[in-house]
Amino acid sequence: MPLDANEPTIFELDHGGEGRDWFPAPEPEEEPINSILPTDCIAEQAPDIPNLSELETVRHFTRLSRKNFSVDSGFYPLGSCTMKYNPKVCEALSGLPGFANLHPLTDSQFAQGTLRLMDALSRSLAYLTGMEAVTLNPCAGAHGEFCGMLIARAYHKDCGNNRSVVLVPDSAHGTNPASAVMAGFKTVEVKSNAEGCVDLEDLKKKINEDTAALMLTNPNTLGLFEKEIEEIARLVHDAGALLYYDGANLNAIAGIAQPGDMGFDIIHLNLHKTFATPHGGGGPGSGPVGVNETLVPYLPTPVIEKRDGLYRLDYEKEKSVGQLSTFFGNVGIALRAYVYLRLHGLEGIRKNSETAVLNARYLKKEIESMIPAFLPADCMHEFVLTLKDKDRFGDLNAMVLAKNLLDHGFHAPTVYFPLIAKEALMIEPTESESKQTLDSFVEAIKEILEEYKTDPDRVRNAPHTTPVRRLDEVAAARQPDLVYTCPLCSV
């Protein structure tokens, strides 16, 4: 079946099958279910779910999977997403029965294996980032940001001042302001300067006794290291505020420099970025949060503690911000990250960072002659190009270039982000990619620019080779079709 063929939904594939016998049928002597359970709670009919055969199911999802681009199938240079290789061994080991079959409310004396690994991982992450302690409880980066902001709030409240404002640079990820608001803060934007870094003058203007924290990504979303970080930290701390580190871009500096050293008080990490746990088509992630010594009492519960040689979970922490998830976050993801960290050690993590930066620097150099970088400064692990020069690029904008790259067998870079760069293409190659792959990506860009001169219509209308072509998102949002309804049912 060709990849571009329309695969029906499971509801359309349903042909009235009777379903399989997954479980033993009731014995003749067993009472009918409605004499065991109250009749008024039981639905008259089973829920309306298709009954497909196993092979029909396997084929359907296999066909769907073939319509996806993935790291396993090609270069995925999404800026700020760190789409590096996800080692298979990490998957396999996190799924060992002793881990997978463990109930979260098992008495901790029978869960020592997992608890020890979680403790070891959080310690390693703390050492690596220069923080005092790390919690693994948040389920994703944004959940970590929320946790970090709750900690900032609890800290200031404890100090007797309810500071209400969080400063966020205009180049920040959207989750930063959204997380600050979730935690009950108002946000104020700090401008970037001409070099793409925090504008110190604007920061000085906006920081005051009502500022709870400054959220900063370093390197920032332009892929630039905030060189004035020492001065930023001083300004923030002098105002009595906290400095928050968004770890989305840690893959540039892991093992090379520590956020704790730079003056960050709270950090979050994305295990699904720097520590290579898979993105899963949008999750599950994991967003550990690290804090300095002063803030340790505010970490969310439960906290893993070792007493009398046994690891246990402590829920009774007077100053804690409370509980964030049903149990302890995405433990299975933490196990993958543990394996990854053990395989690399400090040496391997440093080499990852170096290679990620080298790959980005090399790729930027090779592309710059064709498409200018948004800013000339040396980038870290990612960089931003701009196609805003209409005289040069006509209507070949960031989106058009992105869609053409799909036709050349590459995933598109991040487009139209950060918001301060017009017609932005944000490229993060990661350390996983070979020089050959990077060179072929450069070649593809060259071909697209050439083709735009000879056949601009074809370029404008890309993609041509994907399972579907460009979708009408405006119509989709105007009349949302979010669930399948059988066409005959509505007649």
């Binding site: 709670c41 959207g174 911000v321 979010l482």
Partner: protein
């Protein structure tokens, strides 16, 4: 051990191309005081060594191979091997969030199918692409209700899972939303108290069906009370039970949350699981999280795309409906595959088998002298028992015999003395039910 493809020669050529000699020069923009920190993390090991280490650690989790009667928000259900086989395809699990629709049709269509399945299971008109887990989904549902009703008071039944209530408190306190717990009377929500407390400032009341004690709530009476106010009725569900029970839509819920774990996800010591968030269509613009929708491409062919993104943080930033970005997509995919494999028949028979096994276990246990149900009410597949001996004594004895006998519940939760929450699923073996009751009977004497 690393996964870097460059040869030494290639690294050198790339360095030269950017005008450098040495990798350390790549970091010239970082103040030198920060460079080369001393970091004490263990030296690297080979794949062979880490396999051995992890296998040993897994064996240290004795709980993973014990006979379990634990529920309380996470359940040991049967998962067909096909689920893992399909979600382990690299094309699924190494893909990113489907922002580039043309290169992500597989993930997008699967989300659309997931939304449809969950909408049918919950009896709601719409469901999103997933939240983190059951507790955070409940908390987000409460925030959503506050936005819909433009009010800032939430009521929750004290018979909702205590872990969920703790998370709810964390989320609501942050935004200064008032949270009031409606007590339970003998294991079900106290209707009198609900009626008295619900008022014109209440955004929603949340109840779980079945509740934390496994008991069926009088949802029709609850719906009647809530409908007499301006508040929304929120539900927290155990989706495995929906193979058999009336959906929250049927009994009048407006917003439904829950945890997907019971639909094809391993226990994994608490995660990754995933949260359910479903609601009536008229509330979707206040919904947090991702939504996939069907659309047409420029040739008129059907396809799928993320939609209503102006609710989300990457567009709306501080004004978004939530900060959630990464959710639990692969877990939602696992549930989609699970439901497709089970079909309506499999899902119903799983739920029936769970309930039957739990009732058989209860019958066995309640024959033992001094063992009785704490709440004499109809339940689904979990129930609370009181023992004539200290609960911990029984748990210790049972664990010596390789059994995890249940979850201790404090007197504060039960409203009398300490008790035990015991659970059975379709996997619970008749032999183990016999063993449980024999051991307990012998111990009590």
């Amino acid at each position: 051990m690393d996964y870097i493809p460059h040869t030494a020669d290639e690294t050198q050529r790339m360095l030269s191309a950017v005008g450098l000699n040495n990798p350390s020069e790549l970091f010239h923009m970082i103040p030198s005081a920060f460079l080369d920190p001393e970091i004490e993390i263990p030296t690297p090991v080979t794949e062979m060594e880490i396999v051995e280490e992890m296998e040993k650690a897994a064996q240290k989790n004795e709980g993973g191979s014990m006979v379990s009667f634990l529920g309380g928000g996470a359940y040991d259900h049967f998962v067909p091997r096909t689920v893992n086989a399909l979600i382990s395809r690299g094309d699924f699990y190494t893909a990113y969030t489907p922002y580039q629709a043309e290169a992500s049709q597989g993930t997008l269509q699967a989300i659309y199918e997931f939304q449809t399945l969950l909408s049918r299971l919950t009896g709601m008109e719409a469901a999103n692409a997933s939240m983190y887990d059951g507790a955070s989904a409940l908390a987000e549902a409460a925030l959503m209700a506050c936005r819909v009703r433009r009010k800032s008071k939430i009521l929750v039944s004290a018979a909702v899972n205590p872990q969920y209530r703790r998370v709810l408190r964390t989320y609501l306190e942050a935004q200064a939303i008032e949270l009031i717990e409606i007590p339970h009377t003998e294991g079900i929500t106290d209707l009198g108290s609900l009626k008295e407390t619900i008022d014109a400032d209440t955004a929603a009341f949340f109840v779980s069906q079945p509740n934390y004690f496994g008991i069926f709530e009088p949802v029709d009476s609850i719906a009647e009370i809530v409908n007499h106010s301006d508040a929304l009725l929120g539900a927290s569900v155990y989706p495995h039970s929906l193979g058999l029970l009336k959906s929250p839509g049927e009994w009048g819920a407006d917003i439904v949350s829950g945890d997907l774990q019971s639909l094809g996800l391993a226990l994994n010591y608490g995660g990754p699981y995933a949260g359910i968030l479903a609601a009536k269509q008229k509330y979707i613009r206040q919904m947090p999280g991702r939504l996939a929708g069907r659309a047409k491409d420029r040739d008129g062919n059907p396809g799928f795309t993320l939609t209503l993104q102006t609710r989300e943080q990457h567009i709306r930033r501080a004004k978004a409906t939530s900060n959630i970005c990464t959710n639990q997509a692969l877990c939602a995919l696992a549930s989609t595959v699970y439901l497709t494999l089970m079909g309506s028949k499999g899902l119903r028979s799983a739920a029936e088998r769970s309930a039957r096994n739990a009732h058989a276990l209860k019958d066995h246990l309640c024959k033992i002298n001094g063992v009785r149900l704490r709440f004499d009410r109809p339940f689904f597949n979990e129930f609370v028992i009181e023992l004539p001996i200290p609960i911990q004594q029984w748990l210790d004895k049972a664990s010596e015999e390789n059994i995890l006998a249940g979850i201790p519940i404090s007197g504060a939760e039960t409203g009398s003395k300490e008790a035990l929450l015991v659970c059975a699923t379709e996997k619970t073996n008749p032999v183990d039910i016999d063993r449980y009751s024999h051991l307990l009977s012998k111990m009590i004497g």
